[in-house]
């Protein structure tokens, strides 16, 4: 299944000079970049939610997260469902973990689903993006919060911090989390920034082609929240590219004002090897060039290879290791009849 061609949207077209409006970016950074503590009054958030009559779902995509998933569920359930009824459901969408992830999650009361069991007619693909896409069918909320399941220091604000801008500002469609990575560059100066793939690949690419998107401090953050009405119209790469295409596609359609970003302090998670980040970068480049092609930025893009080649040494010999990385994409989920049946157009949310 491949997504249909993207129609040109009313938003900015890619290009370096013409689409960067410094005043607009400054205003966005000033008005749509928050610290989670601004939303710490949970009674107020619950009140906003109830007045708007929306349901909120939390999705935890997993693959072998037995060491961290238990704590995430215990903390988020007890703080944001039991103490404060902000979340209506928490679901774990698992890619087929071979450890005890699903058992641990179920033991603490989460709804646990194998991604392959959701929408069986659509087939099964491997990747986090697949879980996020299928979660749209399984979950019932009008707002979906995605939180990665490998966070060792998870706190309730990882979820409510992302929900705050959506509940406060009707024009915001999509909220991205970012974290403090204190890189000291001088007395009193800190440079918050992303990880290696962000700083070496995505930010330079955004700066070249979508310069306003370089305003995201961590565009690849796995913690974000969005309205169903927005998510259901997006195609989802099943692998590494899902976060990148979300930003580009929403930006292309609605511009920077559709976004907000929230400082979630520090995030402790397992470090990834350079090799695995290289494969991640390969997948991101695939979807990025695809978006450039769709937006008419490149006219003679050759057929892209799907093999990522890396090296390792064995004794005195150098071995080439090939990884097949295909950033397959799921179409906008509204194109599926099963989805339209469960979530009829105009209906706030599906029956529980």
């Amino acid at each position: 299944m491949s997504p249909g061609p993207s129609s040109p949207g009313p938003g900015p077209a890619p290009g370096a000079a013409g689409m960067y409006d410094a005043a607009r970016v400054q205003a966005w950074l000033r008005n749509n970049t928050f610290h989670h503590s601004r939303f710490a009054d949970l009674k107020r958030l619950v009140d906003l939610k109830e007045r708007q009559g929306v349901r909120i779902s939390l999705c935890l995509p997993t693959l072998n997260e037995e060491r961290t998933i238990g704590k995430e569920i215990v903390l988020l359930r007890s703080e944001l469902m039991t103490r404060h009824p902000l979340l209506d459901e928490i679901a774990v969408i698992d890619s087929g973990s071979t450890d005890r992830t699903r058992e641990v999650a179920a033991s603490f009361g989460a709804d646990v689903h194998l991604a392959a069991d959701i929408l069986p007619g659509a087939g099964a693909k491997k990747g986090k993006g697949e879980n996020l896409w299928k979660a749209l069918y399984r979950l019932t909320g009008d707002i979906i919060v995605y939180v990665d399941a490998d966070i060792a220091n998870v706190r309730p604000y990882f979820a409510y911090g992302l929900l705050g801008p959506l509940l406060e500002k009707p024009e915001v469609q999509y909220v991205k989390g970012f974290y403090d990575r204190p890189l000291q560059v001088g007395k009193g100066v800190r440079m918050p920034g992303g990880g290696r793939v962000t700083e070496l690949l995505v930010r330079p690419l955004f700066s070249l082609f979508y310069p306003e998107l370089a305003s995201f401090i961590q565009p690849l953050s796995g913690e974000y929240a969005a309205r169903r009405a927005t998510l259901e119209t997006l195609s989802f790469p099943v692998g590494y590219g899902v976060e990148t295409t979300h930003l580009i596609d929403i930006y292309h359609r609605s511009g920077l004002t559709a976004f907000a970003q929230v400082d979630l302090d520090q995030r402790v998670h397992r470090n990834q090897s350079t090799d695995s980040l290289g494969r991640m970068a390969f997948g991101i480049l695939q979807v990025f060039f695809d978006r450039l092609r769709r937006h008419g930025c490149v006219d003679r893009l050759p057929e892209m290879a799907a093999l990522m080649r890396q090296f390792r040494t064995r004794g005195d010999a150098y071995e080439q290791v090939e990884h097949l990385i295909v950033e397959d994409e799921r179409p906008a989920i509204t194109t599926l009849p099963e989805y339209r049946e469960k979530f009829p157009r105009g209906r706030a949310c599906a029956p529980t």
Binding site: V74, R77, F108, A152, N153
Partner: protein, 382 residues
């Protein structure tokens, strides 16, 4: 009492129903670093929970204790529930706690965050049980308990509170089944050995401070200690020196002596003072004994109703009581003339495959621990 014992299955079942919020509070409290005299963030969290639970007179007092009052029906007496807030952590670091289906694993997780979470979850548990005691229960999360803190937080609360509690329970996270009704006398000390200002660094064979500290250790370990009254000395820590070949400028030995007898404790203290003076004179180094904590022995009788009831409750819950003297916060109650016991809430261990500060505690027994706590409060209320 029979009615309370008969009600224990319900107490345990309802406590089990609060497993998630209880675990959540344990993790949220346990991941806040809380060194002695640096408990402010943890105190704020506990105080916020007290406010959220609707306790009365919530405050953080001048010593940093977080205090809240669970009001009773008549308030004819006040019961005390205390748990220490500080741990031996020396600086802020990663205190992440792992939540597995059957246990929690992390730094100091078996130390006191479970006891503190028992304070924060108690109001919700009493609501769930629809139990309202006649007595007020004052909940105190105590600052400055360990080491140089010397129970300063709880001692301050007891000396400044307008209503002296009629009885008290000191909570510790582990071990479920402990029933401490007496406090061993204890003193904690540090022997600092430093090089004098005129030390001859160039002298061949200069030994620095490690050799004399070794001499102190050897002599302390040869002190004859009686089995009855039981008297012990624990050499807990030595620090000193920089590298393989550098002469150590300062060495610190930390120890704790315990005894059931105040006379024996005083005798041990005098012997250690003599040892320090002698080694200082012989070695030419500066040796100083610094007594950082001192508590006299005492407690209630094993036949006291609090002890009898606590034993009966543990027995009815299928837990083997372990009665022994403690060196914990109970000493502050004893000094203030308040009858009290120390109880544990779950089982735990510090296993060899874990880092030194990492501990593992079992989740399943926690509901038994909480049921035990409520049953004891009900018994004390009668």
């Amino acid at each position: 009492m029979e009615q309370i014992l008969a009600d224990l299955p319900r107490l345990r079942e309802e406590a089990a129903g609060l497993r998630e919020p209880f675990l959540s509070d344990i993790v949220l409290i346990g991941e806040i670093p809380s060194p002695t005299e640096g408990e402010a963030a943890r105190a704020q969290f506990v105080a916020d929970r007290f406010v959220g639970a609707g306790l009365h007179a919530c405050s953080i007092d001048e010593k940093g204790n977080a205090v809240g009052l669970l009001p009773g029906e008549t308030g004819r007496k006040t019961l005390l529930l205390a748990a220490p807030m500080d741990t031996f952590v020396t600086e802020a670091g990663d205190q992440a706690i792992e939540v597995a289906p059957d246990r929690l694993v992390g730094p100091f997780v078996g130390d006191n965050c479970i006891a503190l979470a028992a304070l924060t979850i108690l109001p919700a548990l009493m609501d769930r049980l629809q139990i309202r005691l006649n007595s007020h229960v004052v909940l105190v999360a105590c600052a400055k308990s360990l080491g140089r803190g010397n129970l300063d937080g709880l001692r301050h609360f007891l000396s400044s509170t307008r209503t002296t509690p009629a009885a008290g329970i000191c909570l510790e996270s582990v071990q479920l089944g402990r029933l401490n009704y007496a406090s061993a006398g204890v003193f904690q000390g540090e022997v600092h050995c430093r090089l004098p200002a005129n030390y001859n660094w160039a002298q061949y064979g200069a030994t620095g401070t490690i050799i004399p500290t070794g001499e102190v250790i050897g002599r302390i370990s040869r002190i004859a200690l009686p089995q009855k009254p039981l008297t012990t000395i624990v050499l807990g820590s030595i620090e000193g020196g920089l590298s393989y070949s550098n002469i150590a400028r300062e060495t610190v030995l930390k120890f704790e002596a315990r005894s059931e007898s105040i006379d024996e404790l005083k005798a041990v203290r005098e012997k250690i003072e003599d040892i320090v003076e002698e080694v200082a004179a012989q070695s030419g180094k500066q040796l100083v004994l610094d007594i950082i904590a001192w508590r006299g022995p005492g407690g209630i009788d094993i036949a006291h109703p609090m002890v009898r009831n606590a034993r009966a409750i543990l027995g009815a819950l299928g837990v083997q009581p372990a009665l022994y003297p403690t060196t914990s916060q109970l000493a502050a109650l004893i000094e203030a003339g308040i009858p009290g016991v120390t109880l544990g809430l779950t089982t735990g261990e510090r296993r060899s495959e874990l880092d030194e500060i990492d501990e593992a505690v079992a989740i399943e027994p926690m509901s038994t621990g909480l049921a035990q706590l409520v049953a004891n409060l009900m018994a004390m209320d009668e």
